[in-house]
Every structure is written in C-alpha cells, then in structure tokens.
C-alpha cells in the first residue's frame, strides 16, 4: 500500500499487470517472524523470515492460498535474484531492499532486527516479487514460480539449474571492461548515465539524512519551550492558563516531527530502489561489454588464422613468427606436411567463422533485447520517480498544513490563548 495515497502498490504497474502470471495470482509478503537456528558455520543466529502468500487474482478476501505459502529469509531472495541475473542477463533485474540500513539519521535504528526496518523490508520484498511477476520474461520463469509456491525443495531446484556455472567470473567481466575496443555508443552512454544516477541518488540520500537529523533537532528544542511555559505558568495568575495552552501546543509541535520523518522514510525507500536499480543497469552494460569483447576476440582469432593460412599458401612471411624463423633456419617443410597443416588450419578457420557468426548473432540479439529492456526501464523510471516527487511535494504540503494549523490554534486565535493571558 502506498502510504501517502493509500493506493495498492500494484496499481502503479497498471501497464504491467498484463502478464499472464499476475492475471492469475495476487502476491503478498504478508508477515514477518523471528527465527533462531544454526547457520552454515554451525553457530546460533537469529534471523527474520517472511511469509509469501499467493492467492488467486481478484478473489474475495477468503480466497484459498495457492501453493505452500512458504516462509523465506532474505538470503533466499538474494539467491533467487542472482539466479535471475545470470539466467536473463539482458533484463534490468529489479533490486532487493537494502541488506543493511544505510543513510540513517541518528534516530533511525541501523539494526536489522528493528521492527521498523523489518516492516520496511517486508514491503520492499513484496515490491520486488511483484515487479518480477510484472515482467513479460521473468514472470514465466519456473524457478520464480517455485520460489513463490514451494516450501521445500526450492533451494535444490535452483542449484540444479547450474546457473552458478554460467555466471561470468568477475575477473572476466573486469578484463572485458578494460579491453573492449568498440563498445556500442548507446551502452557507453547508458553506463555513464547509470553512474550519474547512482551518484546523484546516493548524494541525495546522504544529504537527506543530514537534513532529517537537523530538522529533528529544531523540533525537539521547541519541546523545551513546552516545559518552560508550563513552569512559568505556575508563577503567573492571569497569564497562567494562556501559557499552559501555549506550552501544550509547543509539545504537540515538537512531537509532530516523528510522524513527519517516518513518512519521509517511504520516499527515501523509493529513491533507494532506483539507486539499487543502477547496479542492475550496470550489470547489463557489463554483459554487453563481455559479449562484445568475446566477439572482438573471435574476430581477431579468425583474422590471425586467415593470416596464417595466407602465409602457408604463399610462403610469404609478413609478420615475424617463430615458424617462419625456424623454417628459415631449419629449412622448409615438406609439401605433405604443409598440406596437412593447411587442412587443419582450414577446419579451424571454418570453426572460427562459425564462432564469429554465432557471437555476432549473440551480440545483436543481446543488444536488441537489452535495448528493449532499457527503454522499458527508462519509461518506468521516469514515470515512477515523477510520481514519487509529486508525492513528496504533497507530503510537504500536508505537513505544512498540520503544523501551521497547530500554531494557528495556539496563539493566533484571539479567543484562545491570548485572551486568557
């Protein structure tokens, strides 16, 4: 539920509710619970699990749940997401809510077990699942459906897909980033944009935390007025009631900051989601670089083999090679040897040509599919962030109204405090 306008979150994805999956089911991360157990290194730990409830879509409140209604912990969500990242590298995979509370201002707890944090995480996890279910490609994934519905055996199933083997190693990715010669310009631009967006949103969140901290300070000191007015009213006769009332309004004003900042956390969460989205964008860019790099390598490989063939057939040594050197030193090889080598080379070239064609195809496919994805993401981002900014502005308006009203009844109303003074 959007806390500002009390709308169902799924309404935001009106366009995307068109997936077959969401037509069938409603997804809800209904509850959270604390569990204790032994972890992988056999140590006792406390962790939180979340209940995933699937019901038939548009059913009445009493609709029977679909599947096992599994309880999942955060690390299982992470596993699911990693699987999706590897399996669909051209998709901008929706992010999970933050692992640890960051960008906190002093009052907000950084403790993962804090109830407010758990509640916000619950909403974030639900949001994640709904976004995946709204995606035309991701929603069809079997493992995803199993995650939603099967209590036991999901972990084994996901590991059985062998996705971990398919994962590109970090080293390979890094090397590709450094050495790719002709990355597509739109991807370079995309990478730059995602860096800029990342930097802008993190800066924003950092400063917002400081602003929240300062604002809290201002409001809380006003609370001191409440106390002093109360003390002062005790020594006054005519002014006493007026001062008491003024003091009370000061207390109300001071206490209102808690609600204000609580509501702003929702806005911060929306920004955080897009901050984490930039990682998904960068992932797609990296995949492109990797494929492009592999294509370039395949092309180079083909070119060098053709070069070798030419040398072999014409006998001309264009480039220094050990073979050329040794044939100069130790005499030419026999025509039979040359013939067999040429044949082997020809086969190798054929394989290389196929590889280049395949890689080219893969590259083009990837670029086409991912570009569709990026377009969709951009449109979603523009729409949702615009809504978030409008909601933020509306929140500010309602906050100004509330505080202004409180002040107004305090001393501006001539029939209230001032007359009793």
């Amino acid at each position: 539920m959007c806390q500002v306008c009390a709308r169902d979150i799924t309404d935001t994805f009106m366009v995307e509710r068109e997936t077959a999956l969401l037509k069938k089911i409603d997804i809800n991360v209904a509850e959270s619970e604390k569990r204790s157990g032994k972890n992988t290194v056999n140590m006792q730990e406390t962790y939180t699990v979340y209940l995933i409830e699937i019901r038939p879509a548009n059913a009445a409140e009493g609709g029977l749940p679909v599947g096992d209604s599994p309880w999942r912990r955060y690390s299982e969500f992470e596993l699911l997401r990693t699987y999706l990242l590897v399996t669909y590298p051209f998709v901008v995979i929706p992010p999970l809510p933050e692992k640890r509370a960051e960008f906190v201002w002093h009052k907000l707890s950084a403790d993962n077990l804090d109830p407010d944090f758990v509640e916000r995480r619950r909403l974030g996890l639900e949001n994640f699942l709904i976004r995946v279910a709204s995606h035309s490609v991701l929603s069809k994934d079997k493992i995803f459906y199993q995650f939603l519905t099967e209590e036991k055996g999901w972990r084994e199933a996901v590991l059985e897909t062998g996705f971990q083997d398919k994962a590109d190693s970090r080293l390979k990715s890094l090397s590709a980033t450094l050495r790719v010669k002709n990355p597509d310009k739109s991807f370079t631009d995309l990478k730059q944009y995602s860096d800029e967006l990342n930097s802008a949103i993190s800066h924003l969140l950092r400063v917002r935390a400081k602003v929240a901290d300062r604002m809290y300070g201002v409001y809380k000191v006003h609370g001191n007025y409440g106390r002093i007015f109360s003390e002062w009213s005790a020594i006054e006769k005519e002014m006493g009631d007026g001062l008491q009332s003024a003091g009370h309004h000061m207390d109300t004003h001071s206490a209102s900051v808690d609600d204000i900042l609580e509501e702003e956390e929702h806005y911060a969460d929306q920004l955080k989601e897009y901050l984490f989205y930039t990682d998904a964008l960068r992932s797609v860019c990296r995949k492109h670089e990797l494929i492009q790099y592999e294509l370039e390598m395949a092309v180079l490989d083909l070119a060098s083999k053709k070069q070798q063939r030419e040398e072999l057939t014409t006998g001309a040594v264009r480039v220094f090679s050990l073979k050329g050197m040794s044939s100069k030193l130790f005499g030419q090889e026999s025509p039979e040897q040359r013939e067999s080598r040429l044949a082997a080379l020809q086969q190798s070239i054929q394989a290389s040509e196929d590889a280049v064609l395949d890689k080219n195809q893969e590259c083009r496919e990837f670029m086409r599919m991912s570009w569709e994805e990026v377009k969709r993401f951009k449109e979603q981002k523009d729409r949702e962030l615009r809504e978030a900014l409008i909601s933020y502005a509306i929140m500010q308006i309602s906050m100004c109204k509330k505080v202004g009203d409180n002040m107004g009844t305090a001393t501006c109303d001539p029939h209230h405090v001032t007359r009793t003074m």
Binding site: E231, D382, C400, M407
Partner: protein, 419 residues
C-alpha cells in the same frame, strides 16, 4: 502640597486595594504589618467631593494620552574623535508643561543614559524602564550594523514611550529637558556625585529591616523565579536559532543536489528542478523566520531581565526606606519614654516616605505586570505568526509545484495521479 499627596495616594490606593484583596490574596483580606496598611490609609483619607471629581478626572486623563513620543531615523555621525549614531526623537503634546506642541531633535544613546540616571535619582520610589545594554563587545557585535542599530532603536523607543506613559515620570522635568532642550546640559559629573552621595547616605543609615511585609516577599520571589525562566527561555531561543542555522546549511545542499541531478535527466528535469526551487524557497523562508526571531524575541527577553533588575533595586530601596523609618521610630519611642518628647518631625517624614514608596511601588508593580502581560502576549502571537508565515510560504511553493507538475502530466499521459 499636602493635597497633591492625597491625590496621588488615592490614585494608587484604589487599584492597590483591588490588587491586594483580589489578586494577591485570592479574595481573602490580609492584615499587613506595614505601617502603610491599606485600611489605615483609607481611614486617614479625607475625601473631598471636589477632590474626588478631580482625582477621577486625573485618573481618566492618564488614560487619554496627551504626550506622544517616537524614536526613529538613525543616522551615523563621523567625527575625528569618534563615530556614533543619533536618533530622531519626536514629541507631540498638548500639555502645558511644554512650550510648543511639537518637538523634533536628535539624541544619542549617551543622552538616553543620562535621562535614565536622572529619573532614577529624582524618582527613587518609582520603577524606571530599562535601556538596551550600553556596552557591546567590540569584536563580537558590529555597533553600526543595520540589525544592531535597528534593535537598539526599537528598545530606545520602547523605553521613551514607557516613560511618557507613566503618570508620574512623564511629568519629570528631566524628561521635559530631554524632549525639548537643544543642548542637554548633562553635567555627568554631578550626576555621579548625587548617586554616590545617596548610596553613602544609605550606607550611613545602616538600618536593618526587621520584617518585610509578605506582599513584598512575594514580589521578590516572583521576580527571582521569573528571572530564572527568562534566562532559560533566552537559552532555548539561542539554541533554536543555532539549530535552524545548521538545518539551513544542510537544506541548501539538499536543494542543490536536486538541481544537479536534473542535469543528467530529460523527462525528469522539470520535476527535479521544481523540487530544487521549492527547497530553495523554504530556505529563504527559514532565513526570514530566524531573522525575525532574533530581532524580536531575544531583545524582549533581555529587556525584561533588565526590568527585573530595576524592580529588584526598587524593592531594595523600599526595604531600606522602611528600615530607616522603623529604626528612627524605635529610637524616637525610646526617647519619648525616657525624655517625654513628642515624636519628631523627622520620623513623620520617614513614615510619609515609606507610605509613598509603598504606594508608588504597588502602582508601578501593577502597571509593570499589565505591561508584561501585554508584551508577552504580543510576543508569543508574533512568534507564532512568524512560524505560520514560514509554513505558509513553504506550503504555497509546494502547492504551485504540484499543480504545475500535474498539469504537465495531464498533457503528457492519461494516468490518474495521487491526490
């Protein structure tokens, strides 16, 4: 002359009775041990019908003002010896004590200080309103900054108005001189001597007060507690100003981050720049609020701290005057018993002094309480207004942004919005 004393006593006793019987004692009449007890005084009053009419008129006329003073128009004067500020003091009056109906002249702080000293000396039984502080730390505060001069001028204006509104002080010849004389023949030296002389006189007296009447104890306690509360409020106000300043720093950066982000977007440029603009407006509004607080709230708190100091001095002097009377009376009674001499005139004069003092003090106390209520009511209302103003400015900025963005949205898409 005696008649005038009765007039003054009548003016002050009437409200004093009300004050003592209703306000101070919660409706229960008390017996004071003071020689100037309300009931005994009342008994001694010889109410003349004509006098009554006059006194009623006189009382009424203190409410119909016939003396208006204003302090404004500060100007800097630079001379080889010094640089200082003068203020225009304008007077409009119909009183016969003034030769002309209007006066306009320039005075500097020194002149106000002189006036206050003269008033204190010549009217020791009255509460003289305070002046803004004389000395400011040269390094810390700029004596010629617009803000400082403005604040000081407002305080001087208040001081003069309070004096002019006072039924006794406003007739003081020194005030007249201050408002009308081209050159104030200040004779600072003499004033100093008078002050020293008086304190010497009092020290020489060395009378100890036996029993202070409870109403003055109550006043003293009230002043101490109120002083303490004022001090706390001043500290709170300063703290709020400090927090608001730091909040402002962060808020400015917050706005600029939105503006920076807008640069790397296209569809989101307008909303982001819009938010940056709103935040900037809020910053301006907060600046105004802080400025208003520091210019209006802090000076009033400080003024009342000084006022309390003055009032405490007056209470002390009253105690001393009562102590002297009691001392002399005791001595005289003993001598009377021993030597069969009548009570000397000295003692009677002392008694009169004490009675006048008490009457003046109570009247001034009442006036001060009323001023205090008015001042603080106005102050709290003004502070609340400033705060409301701040939130209204912010609210309207955000509202215009929302309507602008929603218009844009309506143009571009058909989606429903959060309302």
């Amino acid at each position: 002359r005696r008649a005038i004393w009765w007039v003054y006593i009548y003016i002050y006793i009437y409200p004093t009775i009300v004050y003592i019987e209703v306000v101070l004692t919660n409706g229960k009449p008390i017996e004071t041990s003071s020689p100037a007890s309300a009931s005994s005084l009342l008994n001694r009053l010889q109410l003349d019908d004509d006098l009554e009419a006059d006194t009623l008129d006189l009382y009424a006329s203190t409410e119909t003002r016939d003396l208006f003073v204003t302090v404004d128009d500060p100007k800097k004067h630079v001379s080889t010896m010094e640089t200082y500020i003068t203020y225009r003091v304008s007077t409009k009056t119909s009183r016969i004590e003034f030769d002309l109906p209007e006066y306009n002249l320039r005075r500097r702080y020194q002149d106000f200080d002189w006036l206050r000293m003269k008033l204190e000396d010549s009217q020791p039984t009255h509460l003289i309103p305070p002046l803004p502080e004389k000395f400011v730390m040269k390094g810390v505060v700029d004596r010629f900054s617009e803000e400082f001069v403005e604040t000081r001028m407002k305080a001087l204006d208040k001081f003069l108005k309070r004096v002019a509104d006072h039924p006794v002080l406003s007739f003081n010849p020194h005030l007249n001189a201050f408002l009308t004389a081209k050159d104030l023949n200040k004779r600072q030296g003499l004033a100093l001597l008078t002050k020293v002389g008086e304190s010497v006189k009092q020290a020489a007296g060395g009378y100890k007060l036996r029993a202070r009447p409870p109403e003055y104890c109550v006043m003293g306690e009230y002043l101490d507690t109120f002083n303490q509360k004022l001090g706390t409020m001043d500290r709170i106000a300063q703290r709020i100003l400090k927090e608001q300043t730091e909040y402002l720093v962060e808020l400015r950066e917050y706005g600029s981050v939105y503006a920076g982000w807008a640069g790397s977007e296209d569809a989101l440029t307008r909303p982001l720049e819009g938010v940056a603009g709103c935040v900037s407006t809020c910053c301006g509004a907060m600046e105004d609020l802080s400025e208003g607080m520091s210019q209006e709230l802090l000076p009033v708190l400080r003024e009342y701290v000084l006022y309390i100091e003055s009032m405490k001095n007056v209470l002390k002097k009253r105690d001393q005057s009562q102590a002297e009377y009691e001392g002399r009376l005791e001595a005289a009674v003993i001598r009377k018993q021993e030597e069969k001499t009548p009570v000397p005139v000295e003692v009677e004069k002392c008694q009169d002094r004490v009675e006048c003092f008490n009457a003046d003090l109570k009247a001034d106390w009442e006036r001060w309480q009323s001023n205090k209520r008015q001042d603080f009511r106005q102050l709290l209302t003004s502070m609340a207004d400033k705060n409301i103003n701040y939130f209204e400015k912010c609210q309207s900025a955000w509202e215009s942004l929302v309507s602008q963005l929603q218009d844009d949205q309506a143009e571009n898409t058909n989606e429903t919005n959060c309302d």
